[in-house]
Symmetry: D2
Subunit: 360 residues, 4 copies
Amino acid sequence: MRTLEELRGEMNYLNHALLALLSKRARVSTEVLAVKQRDNLPLHDPARELAMLEELAAANPGPFPDGTIKHLFSEIFRASVALMEQGQAKGLKVSRTRRAEPGVVTVGAVRIGAEPVVVAGPCAVESPEQMDMVARDLKRLGVTILRGGAFKPRSNPYAFQGLGEEGLRILRDTGKKYGMVTVTEVMDVRQIELVSAYADILQIGARNMHNYELLRELGTVKKPVILKRGFSATIEELLWAAEYIVGGGNEEVILCERGIRTFETQTRNTLDISAVPLLKQMSWLPVLVDVSHAAGRTDILAPLARAAIAAGADGVMVEVHPFPAVARSDSRQQLDIEQFAAFLRESDLLTGMRLAANDS
Amino acid sequence: MRTLEELRGEMNYLNHALLALLSKRARVSTEVLAVKQRDNLPLHDPARELAMLEELAAANPGPFPDGTIKHLFSEIFRASVALMEQGQAKGLKVSRTRRAEPGVVTVGAVRIGAEPVVVAGPCAVESPEQMDMVARDLKRLGVTILRGGAFKPRSNPYAFQGLGEEGLRILRDTGKKYGMVTVTEVMDVRQIELVSAYADILQIGARNMHNYELLRELGTVKKPVILKRGFSATIEELLWAAEYIVGGGNEEVILCERGIRTFETQTRNTLDISAVPLLKQMSWLPVLVDVSHAAGRTDILAPLARAAIAAGADGVMVEVHPFPAVARSDSRQQLDIEQFAAFLRESDLLTGMRLAANDS
Amino acid sequence: MRTLEELRGEMNYLNHALLALLSKRARVSTEVLAVKQRDNLPLHDPARELAMLEELAAANPGPFPDGTIKHLFSEIFRASVALMEQGQAKGLKVSRTRRAEPGVVTVGAVRIGAEPVVVAGPCAVESPEQMDMVARDLKRLGVTILRGGAFKPRSNPYAFQGLGEEGLRILRDTGKKYGMVTVTEVMDVRQIELVSAYADILQIGARNMHNYELLRELGTVKKPVILKRGFSATIEELLWAAEYIVGGGNEEVILCERGIRTFETQTRNTLDISAVPLLKQMSWLPVLVDVSHAAGRTDILAPLARAAIAAGADGVMVEVHPFPAVARSDSRQQLDIEQFAAFLRESDLLTGMRLAANDS
Amino acid sequence: MRTLEELRGEMNYLNHALLALLSKRARVSTEVLAVKQRDNLPLHDPARELAMLEELAAANPGPFPDGTIKHLFSEIFRASVALMEQGQAKGLKVSRTRRAEPGVVTVGAVRIGAEPVVVAGPCAVESPEQMDMVARDLKRLGVTILRGGAFKPRSNPYAFQGLGEEGLRILRDTGKKYGMVTVTEVMDVRQIELVSAYADILQIGARNMHNYELLRELGTVKKPVILKRGFSATIEELLWAAEYIVGGGNEEVILCERGIRTFETQTRNTLDISAVPLLKQMSWLPVLVDVSHAAGRTDILAPLARAAIAAGADGVMVEVHPFPAVARSDSRQQLDIEQFAAFLRESDLLTGMRLAANDS
């Protein structure tokens, strides 16, 4: 039996030989890719890989069983594919590797991504009076972005579905009156033109994050888009969804974490706070946190907003209604104005906003 | 101190008095509803409820604290609202309470809901040859419904998105040649007309179960729809989604359980087998189980199919490809023909289908 | 630029060279392992691996960046480690690769794993009368295994915790009177001896599946153990937990799937039906399904039991109480006798049991 | 048809009549409870409730169907029971309603709950040298609490299980040398005495949060306990688990959120940040966040720690190892010293600790 030292010497030699061969193989791969791209051939050829695996297994001298050889070469192929996909992922337009600087979406005087923002307003636009009341107070408290739904995606087909174009008009008029940027949801490709005519920022709700045709159309629109994470979408899927828009030519995308579905019932969803630093690290897109939909209750919004900002979020979204108890939707998770003022104080967002407001 | 017997006698008396009052209150509620429906007023008036709660709390003689009184009356109000909603839910067109008999969707010789069906075919239509090979074998094995995607919803915007209209044409021609019913996915309102011109049954994928505008449009279409459960949709949300279609006038909806997202990684999704008896009990719509998407692997499809049928499902969906290893999508979860023949034998579905085939 | 054919030829050559090198490296690994096992040295040497990775990266000629080389060699190292661990996993005593034949646990006339069994009885032993009523009827209906908790793990420290030793005595006496095998839960290492003195089969509840000290102790006990899956344990973790017992010398372990925690609220847990074929495929241990804890309701137990058997389970567990409404725990999920008789009829379990009963 | 006004008048009258009756009924309930407590009778009598429901349904004059009447009275009964249980929950010793002031656990110079603390150290105690290296640096950086596992709960029964008593001795000696408070895990009732003899704080790992016998024993111990949330335990279950200890007489319990199991795979667990404000609001116990186990990766620990503190946590736990790459467990999630120093800077925890250190 050889000594451990002898064996290690040989192992070392073999490792370096493998290094040389893998490097050589990579160089050939690069050439293959170049040819394929020139001739517009598919990069990945699973049938050929399959054949190669069979051939290598047939030639296997042991001691590995054939299955092991197939496994090891699958790993090498997969590593190559992973490298290519990683290259492609690095090549994703939303990827941080493509743009080191964090993106800033500028709408009027508001610069999302440059300073913490608060997006506030009711779940749904219900009447001119409701919007006027809430906007007046939000403005007074330093909020610059007003939200309100005109088209509401509702599980129940017979529930209040929003005021539609009338709601859009109310939102636009209120925003104009108080000098606020407006955000509202678009649910369908056929609504894009209409909503774009009224609102400053379009929102894609959690239910539509996987609606790829809608995302694709938004790539051609000249409006910023707030893209909410689907309630059981992975972080990677959220980035792919953003790529549908950015890849289509619209770079003004703002991601929004709003909680995911888990077994915990104290909160409506579980705010995935780790998503904030991960998204900021993986992408240059600004990231908001919708604390209202995450919590589904009003009593822990301030700590959640503090946590969101501390984790690196570019702002928070929060639902505010003049009289939450009589709201036509989501009445349990909306703050009234007094609660919202307390929320701003406790979340340390007030000072930041005041200062930002004074700057402009 | 009074005896337990005395106290129980009094409690009994009070319960009956409460019964009388609640019944009386219910009668008045009924009258209120009638007036409101006549005058087209909103049924639910949260502001008024709020005021009533405050007033009752103000009049509270004790020993309950005010909060308790508010809580108890909220319960009574909520019970009333629940009753109304329950009435409305019972009134849901998809509800079993509205139609005791299980629904049957008839397409050509196939009667989904009347006898176990197998929907089989590749994930995506890739070429005329691929479809011909797979359809010939499926037909031979007794399968009557052929699936194949022409529009593929893909997380990665740069991945293969399906052949589009060319794929639809191949699917239609293959179906015609072998006398099979065809199913394919529709992803967007703008594709409905096109897809309807080619396919016998439209499919809504898991990602679009919450795409309410798409569902609404399908209510006006004269084609059966297979509606897949969203990968983190609740059973109740699936029924609401179906109501969007059925409520719009299209009663030919087939529900499909295809697994939900959980922490378990051995399977791609967790097949929620309990959903099958629950859906059958709550609704008259037929229920299929997509074993391929649930498992995301090929080695447990037969036991899952047996379990699905045993739990009361009206059939299963399964992905079959002539050469899974070279499939352009989902290559790991598609069966080849030989595996599919074994699947049919092991799942006891072959006999049932043969018999059904002989009947026709 | 070389042609694709030329490049493929070279790639083919390089693949075979890699095959030769990897095979050679595997042979050296085998020698290293032999030396280490002889000298009783640890097999895995992360520090050395780390140093090797650094050295290889330093020698990297390109075109791969250093990170890629480290990644590829990590894959090769990991593949080796995976092979060893796979060897070790195959070597797990619970693994099907170690014993092709399904295991059978024999207790008296009952042979779990050989024919479908029904384990039935109340959640908790409450009184001799309660146990006598339920056992008499279960016996009459063909049930051979009687369950009942004497030590109850309760979230609420002030809730009913079971009758303790008195409960054990009642269970034993009832089992003896009706000639039934008894099962009851053990929660703590200090209860093992006591419970073993009274019951035929010990049960480990979901909450204790990760209680490794308890599992380890059960490896030395001469009683069969029903091991329930933790409510968020993976399938792999369940098998590792079983290995704690089997590895300790007690091979009479019966696995039990009882639902996992998900977002769905219609059922108390989500029955992971895929776990049944996966566990049967990965291990030789018998597998039961506890339909009562999975559903948490009584109206879908028959279809779930049918599905469990169809998926390959060796039996079901179900909670039956003479008067569920007054049960001291889990009152909503227990069947009364009449419901249980219907359950047996509808789940097709009756015939099997009758036949089995007649055999003995 | 009467007018809406008339109907509302009558409804108002009926509501007040119901108020009077419910109040009267509550007074009788109070008397019943007093009698039952005096005579030591069970408070809850489900059989009697059942009988009452049947009797009321039999007497139901309509228009509600019998099921509705049963439902409404169940609600009233349940509301009563809820009130009692709420009373009991308020009565939970861990509840904030029982003690308005946040609790402070004092160990030596460290006051957990009074100022942010950092608990740091390796996953497992491996050798005196390893502990000395890491403790020296942690001390220099201001850390006052040193963690290290001597008994390691491992899924794999054949994996490294910790050094046992030798590990305890190393931990104690290292803590003594550097004047640091020590924390280590106890996994079994039989280890309590031993571990208590060596460590300053006992830790209950996530896997044992449901091990009620262990929790109960800790109620009698004179050592602080860090109680980790089970990886799929609800917030409520965590509080019940704490009640097992506090109710037994040991009030020095520190809760620890460490992530829950979800479908997201970018992180090992999903840090449930909402649990922090909820636990602080529901209980007076201090709350830590274990960022290492939540993330399972090292690159987002600083933002997670900032978020934890911002959400109101009393400190964080983080795994630090002199050479993570060669750690015997959890090597991917441990920081090295340099990374840990950066972590402290970026998480703004350094200043707080320095100041706290200077104070003492």
